[in-house]
Symmetry: C2
């Protein structure tokens, strides 16, 4: 089993120092409480509601920034059996190309294992960020193979499908879900989409939303961990923490019965149009 | 607006005559109540719980069978503005190749417009049916372009995606959902998957489940109509009827905001592995 903890924090907009401290403290606390995988929100180092591209640029950092060394030190001894733990968290990235990306870092005790640049930018993010242009990675970590998606990514079913087909054992989703409407008794649609993705791909999904009101924007505050059957096994508590134990190896066998396999039963030769150009 | 009615019937196993009468009567009643699109369950002419391939074969029919002429006559004058209405219903099909398929017919006042053969067979269906081998059609009907999926098909996100990308304005799903487990307060996972598919593809989905207990098997009895935002707008009533008005043209524009388009924002060049062979 892997102890997954999502920390539904409220980053301070454009205040890198405050967010470095808050995120690092949250990782340390979570590890002390038994976490092996700590998930932070999208753009946890910077906040979300930028007013200008210059403001985003002012808090953009590279994967060499000391915050990631801090995350690495905080998670180093978190894993069971002497393994390192893992942190997945969002940040505003300054690329070698001087462009700004909405990215997530995968960090273990040795440092930054991978950086994923969000490929599906939501709405006004397009004014502040450049979309990623690389096939989203599946990252080999001490806890297993992690597929990373950020927020709106997960609403494109190709995204979790692609990660799962390429061997992900858990999908980890730093997110900032702007507060949406929902009929009484329903989950937010973003959670519904995540549940369906978990079910269809027979894989767990850990979603870490954010909290707080930022420049007038509220959030769903709907962080959750979903198991490989698609059911939410842990919701966020009043402290903004989700904690769940998942056996990530259960995602490896896609069989539901002797005659049903969620991957083997696919008919890719009959899915016309899926890969047509836009 | 299009008035959609799903009839959650209880077919009699292997009793073609009884099912012909029941389905045709249900269409007539629905039309009298204002239906323009009538959706029937999967395998409505035959029932589902076959014990042997021979039993399935014994009630397998071709698209030339008189039942479809009966459905056609019953729906002929159902549409608004002089259009014909449309019936979508499941049947056990005998192919020209003497093989047996789990199929759905799309019928209007002129006769059978199209037959779709299920491409994702669930569990023991593999003992009785041959899977379809043709890209699922989008059918031009007097009510609009209908994409057809049968039951388990919908749990492969490629299926609704492919239908919607190819111009479907509504996805119509004859289904037999074997009774599943669900945590308290949750919808059945099949409905959750349908809601997510409707949202991600910005398209309505009409699901017609079946009722009754057949050879010990119960069903979810979760027929519903879902709008293009992914919300269930009508559940089944105590008479086994779902009735909803949907504007199918709302599915044509995939924009959610000036900067968000559920199709335009796709990144097909970055979805590695989706079309790899099994």
């Amino acid at each position: 089993m892997t102890r997954i903890v999502c920390r539904q924090l409220a980053p301070a907009i454009a205040d890198l120092g405050a967010n470095v401290r808050m995120t690092t403290d949250a990782i340390r606390e979570s590890v002390a409480a038994g976490a092996e995988l700590v998930v932070l929100p999208e753009l946890a180092t910077s906040g979300y509601m930028f007013e200008t591209p210059e403001e985003a640029q002012s808090v953009a950092i590279t994967p060499g920034h000391p915050v990631f060394a801090g995350w690495s030190a905080a998670i180093r001894n978190a894993g069971a059996d002497g393994r390192s733990g893992v942190v997945v968290g969002g940040f505003t990235e300054l690329g070698d190309d001087d462009l700004v990306y909405n990215s997530a870092a995968v960090v273990d005790g040795t440092g930054v294992l991978a950086v994923y640049r969000k490929i599906h930018l939501w709405d006004k993010e397009k004014n502040f960020f450049t979309p990623g242009s690389v096939v989203p990675p599946v990252v080999d970590t001490p806890l297993g193979k992690l597929g990373i998606a950020i927020c709106f990514d997960l609403e494109f079913p190709e995204m979790p499908r692609s990660l799962a087909l390429r061997g992900a054992e858990l999908i980890v989703v730093p997110t900032n879900w702007p507060r949406g409407n929902r009929p009484e008794g329903e989950r937010y649609m973003e959670v519904t989409a995540a549940m369906a993705a978990a079910y269809s791909n027979h894989i767990g999904i850990a979603c870490c939303d954010r909290a707080g009101t930022e420049r007038g924007q509220d959030w769903n505050e709907a962080s959750c961990v979903i198991n490989e059957h698609g059911w939410v096994v842990a919701n966020v508590d009043e402290a903004g923490i989700v904690s769940a134990d998942l056996d990530l190896t259960l995602s490896r066998d896609k069989s539901l019965t002797d005659l049903v396999n969620m991957f083997g039963d696919r008919r890719p030769e009959l899915y016309g149009a899926l890969t047509d150009p836009r």
